[in-house]
């Protein structure tokens, strides 16, 4: 439970990672929600029966083969703990929930941050779900080095 001392997950505390082949096939949901809390919107939103949760307090487990990458779960997760991952044509993509001003725009260059808030590089916004379509939680897809998709968990807009 040392993640509760730090406030972020270390490599050995991460949930199992989907394979490179799976990541290259289509989008996949990666849920970083290791603690037992009473919460279940993700499983309720999943149409593909891809999320397993024994009871409302159990942490969710994703079956990467069943997950279709439809992004219903990331829209509703109150913990903003779901990230949609993808590798395509040698490039990595992370889709994350974003709730700050200014809203990111497609084509914009952004600073990539890891779980500790440290800068790990720069990426480009390739797709945005506008905030008004999802009760003010925008979804932002950022293109980056494929090696970074299990590290990057936040972005910062470059001002000016």
């Amino acid at each position: 439970m040392s993640y509760l001392v730090r406030g972020y997950l270390e490599e050995d505390e991460l949930p199992p990672k989907p394979s490179r082949e799976r990541l290259e096939e289509r989008n996949v949901a990666y849920i970083e929600c290791p603690q037992e809390i009473p919460c279940s919107p993700c499983i309720e939103s999943c149409k593909y029966d891809a999320i397993k949760m024994e009871n409302i307090n159990a942490p969710p487990e994703v079956d990467y083969e069943k997950c279709n990458g439809c992004m219903q779960c990331i829209r509703v997760c109150p913990g903003l703990a779901i990230f949609i991952l993808r590798i395509k044509d040698g490039k990595g993509y992370v889709t994350l929930a974003y709730e700050f001003l200014p809203w990111p725009k497609k084509g914009q260059e952004v600073v990539l941050l890891n779980r500790k808030g440290e800068e790990v590089g720069k990426g480009k916004v390739t797709w945005v779900l506008p905030p008004e379509k999802n009760d003010h939680t925008s979804l932002v897809r950022v293109e980056m080095d494929p090696e970074l998709i299990f590290d990057v968990r936040a972005i910062r807009i470059i001002e000016g």
């Binding site: 439970m1 993640y3 509760l4 001392v5 730090r6 406030g7 972020y8 997950l9 970083e32 929600c33 290791p34 603690q35 037992e36 809390i37 009473p38 919460c39 279940s40 919107p41 309720e44 939103s45 009871n55 409302i56 307090n57 509703v76 997760c77 109150p78 913990g79 903003l80 703990a81 709730e99 700050f100 001003l101 809203w103 941050l113 890891n114 779980r115 500790k116 808030g117 440290e118 905030p131 009760d135 003010h136 939680t137 968990r153 936040a154 910062r156």
Partner: protein, 523 residues
């Protein structure tokens, strides 16, 4: 200080009005409280403390702390966080000369305190008796709260007698749910709240809620407030009384004052008390300095009235409230210097901590605040590491630059009304303090008086809504409404709530509830 743009909330400000602060005009907007209008104008000292004339300012924002007492239109000791601005309103600081910002009697705190420290009026000059009496008189001359009123009530007072099935005290998540579920079963309900709006503290919860979809998880607290208020509007058998303060329950009769002028004598068959909770404070040097706020107070200021509390904050406590507040401050464009947590681990949900940690906010576990630094307002804070025996480690002090400090160390139930009604109370630390003994449907030891929400034990809004539903529907059933369908719904919610509490976060609540839940039936 006023926020124009916000990622989640759209601030709809009313007509621009002018209020006067110690005679000086201040711009305000209709619908705003006096406290928030003053805050937005940069006023930090609202009055002076009654004995040592220390600066007093904004703290809880929901009328529970007495830190913001001022003179409004000639009437002293008004909680300005509960009074809404009106054009031409005259607001004055009290217990000070010439004003609270530059109070001559402030010498009592800054100079005399060195020779006659706080608390010494209990110890010094006790003997001989004649000296004690002399000194006591002099000291009392300096003390006191406010001046005599310059005006008396001029409106017309009236009286109304109401007979109904269910009286609900408090229009927050628990009270609203109780009213809705009782009304749906067929009961006539009167729902009273001291605010001019329903929703309680939901109105400042801009984040999405946890729980199950059936209990509105994934929906923002502010939307839940609207959804419930709309549902209440639809139900014709709910009579909502805004700005109504319930002051007592006397043998099943509820006494209340509506809009400061109408006395209500309500004879319900059952009563649900859902009065919520108030924020706790923490002991540290200078903890009364303006700039030290309750976490919920800051949420009200920022998310309800759209006013920034400052430029950079320090958060004390890493429970869900502290973590969520940190995120909300950042959403409003306010920097957070750090979160300190006395426990060796984060108290709230990990996912909330991860949300702010990945934006670079440091979380210091095993740290606490040692003192607030500043003369008339917070200019910095000093934090210190705690060893395994919770003792400060010498030499580990760190200065944190900040202009406000949020205390997010928990809440205490607003239990006074239950106590007055004669309910058997117990002090249960797991539930946050004094709570009533009750059965599994929330009925206390006083027959027909139910309890629901934070006043029954500090938990969170999802559980409060479930408790409200259970209390409301059980009250309706006992009166004779609803039939088998109502019984089914009641048992369903009881089951959902039990499941909700089955995890480690619920374990503490369950342990607390075991100490106050009666086996069968109730009174």
């Amino acid at each position: 200080m006023r926020l124009e743009d916000h990622p989640i909330v759209e601030f709809k400000r009313g007509k621009e009005v002018t209020i006067y602060f110690n005679g000086k005009p201040i711009k305000a907007y209709e619908g705003e409280t006096v406290a928030s209008a003053l805050y937005a104008a940069g006023v930090r000292t609202f009055s002076r403390s009654f004995r040592f004339h220390r600066p007093r300012g904004f703290f809880c924002a929901i009328g529970k702390c007495s830190s913001c007492l001022m003179e409004v239109d000639g009437i002293p000791n008004i909680r300005v966080c509960k009074v809404y601005v009106k054009d031409g309103m005259q607001v004055r600081t009290q217990n000070s000369f010439p004003n609270a910002d530059n109070d001559l009697l402030g010498v009592l705190d800054s100079i005399i305190d060195r020779f006659y420290p706080h608390g010494s009026h209990y110890k010094k000059f006790n003997r001989p008796r004649i000296l004690r009496e002399f000194i006591t008189k002099r000291v009392r001359g300096f003390a006191g709260t406010g001046n005599p009123p310059k005006k008396v009530f001029e409106g017309e007072a009236s009286f109304e007698e109401i007979e109904t099935d269910l009286a609900v005290v408090g229009g927050g998540p628990a009270g609203m749910s109780a009213a809705i579920f009782a009304a749906k079963a067929g009961a006539r309900v009167i729902l009273m709240d001291e605010n001019p709006f329903l929703g309680g503290q939901l109105v400042k919860q801009t984040h999405r809620f946890f729980g199950s979809g059936r209990h509105r998880a994934g929906t923002r607290g502010i939307r839940i407030a609207t959804i419930l208020a709309d549902e209440i509007k639809e139900l014709k058998n709910i009579d909502v009384r805004f700005e109504t303060k319930v002051f007592g329950i006397y043998d099943g009769i509820v006494g209340a004052v509506e809009k400061e002028k109408k006395l209500l004598r309500i004879k319900p068959k059952k009563i649900v008390v859902a009065t919520g909770a108030y924020e706790r404070t923490l002991i540290f040097e200078n903890n009364d300095l303006p700039g030290v706020y309750g976490a919920g107070g800051v949420q009200t200021l920022m998310n309800v009235y759209g006013i920034k509390p400052g430029n950079k904050g320090l958060i004390v406590g890493s429970g869900n409230v502290g973590l969520i507040l940190t995120y909300q401050l950042m959403q409003a464009g306010v920097k957070v210097a750090a979160i300190v947590e006395a426990m060796p681990r984060i108290g709230g949900y990990f996912v909330h901590a991860a949300k702010v940690r990945r934006l670079g906010v440091p979380i210091y576990t095993s740290y606490t605040i040692q003192r607030a630094i500043g003369k008339k307002k917070v200019e910095a804070a000093e934090i210190v590491k705690l060893d395994e025996n919770w003792c400060p480690v010498k030499g580990s002090e760190k200065r944190i630059e900040c202009d406000f400090i949020c205390i997010a160390i928990g809440l205490s139930p607003t239990h006074e009304l239950l106590y007055q009604a004669g309910c058997e109370m117990k002090f249960v630390p797991e539930l946050g303090g004094l709570v009533p003994v009750r059965n599994k449907y929330g009925e206390t030891t006083v027959e027909g008086v139910y309890v629901a929400g934070d006043v029954a034990g500090i938990e969170e809004a999802t559980a409060a809504m479930m408790e409200g539903r259970i209390a409301g529907i059980d009250a309706a059933i006992k009166i004779g409404y609803g039939g088998d369908e109502a019984l089914k719904i009641r048992e369903e919610v009881v089951r959902d709530l039990k499941e909700f509490r089955e995890g480690p976060f619920g374990a503490r609540i369950v342990a607390g509830l075991q100490k106050v839940t009666m086996e069968e039936g109730g009174a």
